[in-house]
Symmetry: C2
Subunit: 283 residues, 2 copies
Amino acid sequence: MKRWESVTIIGVGLIGASIGLALRERRLAKNVVGVGRRASSLRKAKACGAVTATTTNLERGVSDAELIVVCTPVELIVQRAVEAAALAGPGTLITDAGSTKAEIVRTLDRSLQGNQDVDFVGSHPMAGSEKTGPTHARADLFEGRVSVVTPTTRTSNSARDAIEEFWRSLGANVVRLSPRQHDRTVAMISHLPHVISSAVAASTPDADLPLASTGWLDTTRIAAGDPELWRQILSDNRADVLKSLGKFEKVLASFRRALERDDQRKLIQLLEAGKQRREALGN
Amino acid sequence: MKRWESVTIIGVGLIGASIGLALRERRLAKNVVGVGRRASSLRKAKACGAVTATTTNLERGVSDAELIVVCTPVELIVQRAVEAAALAGPGTLITDAGSTKAEIVRTLDRSLQGNQDVDFVGSHPMAGSEKTGPTHARADLFEGRVSVVTPTTRTSNSARDAIEEFWRSLGANVVRLSPRQHDRTVAMISHLPHVISSAVAASTPDADLPLASTGWLDTTRIAAGDPELWRQILSDNRADVLKSLGKFEKVLASFRRALERDDQRKLIQLLEAGKQRREALGN
């Protein structure tokens, strides 16, 4: 397993701090530098052992980095990656942890084209929680979870392999997809469930909450996620989210018709289809 | 706490067997008789210690009972309760554990009207799991969970109090509601989430499943529930489920419009509403 001399993490929220913790606990990096804009987050990340040094100065933060991981909210990734690339030394590898990929990778491929010294490969570690911030970071956050890596025709094989190896070294299962394929898939499997979960929670009258049991609690758990982070994700990927929403609405309309007509056969058929798909995975 | 000489449980699935286990572990009943139609389920319930005796003969099963708890699927509750009432001794108390109440309680109030010796009070312990059968029974299934009790104008206060005390003795928090109010509330907080969860699972293409993460898994967990049990519940309560579905569809339509127009302010507003409602409860 590669041991890095110095890794820089830009944005020390839940994901960034968990990467730092995992690198430190697995002894995969000697120095982990946390770069952020708020001193309070940086202090927390340092206190929990996620980083060995912190700075609000991007230039100082990336000067010695072999690897830079941009873990900011989706809307800031391109800007921070471009700035970091301009300040980084030759041979630096850059990746990100954004929940959407097509727009980010397209823009960065174009922006970094002139920069021969820096390699960018898009990533999306599919781990997380409705909790945010470095205090909820966990060294095992990526273990057994999927990290998607999205190389393009402009990505060098060596950079791609290094980034895939990086996620594997944190315990993740790497899945390689094109940025478009990634966005289409996560629209269905991640962004749509967020919309649905939020809509179930929002449509429940307060008066009904005292009877909430595991069903409501499980179905609405991700609705507690950070609205600002999710606004960015849904807005960035809205075309694909709308397509996934269309598929869901079709099934829901079948449920509605079956209930209106008290069509027992159709109800069973729909419930069976949901059960089968759910049980294709475990808990 | 009242100690029962003999409690009879009709239907030893997850709920019935868990009631038996809880009665036994808390030393609340000397004899717990399991009545069922399948010898295999009865054997399993006995093997896990949920009941002290078993029989497929209803008459023998209820002859000594002070309390009878009907834990069959919703569609069988009325029939089994009427049969049990006809065979039970004077002073026997009967309750059920059905997920719907209006129709069951109305029919039983009418059917048992002539029977001066038997008291019926409807109940719905809001505990459960996507898992079914006596082998998943747990003595602590009702601890800290809500059990709804639905007395009517025909219910004697002493019967109502005894049944409320019964659920409290198993660790449950008792909520008293009219059968109609119960059905309206669970349509929103339990039956609608089941439909939604099932529709999310059913609309997800198999090809997308490898990227499923906690969000999809949480949101679809209850879709693994028994389709036959849920068909009965949804069909029985379909008028109220359709009203709840209407409320959900309205919020979902707002999400759709906000995505179509890329209306950032509206998106944040919807996500905030979902988060607030969700966080009114804990994990």
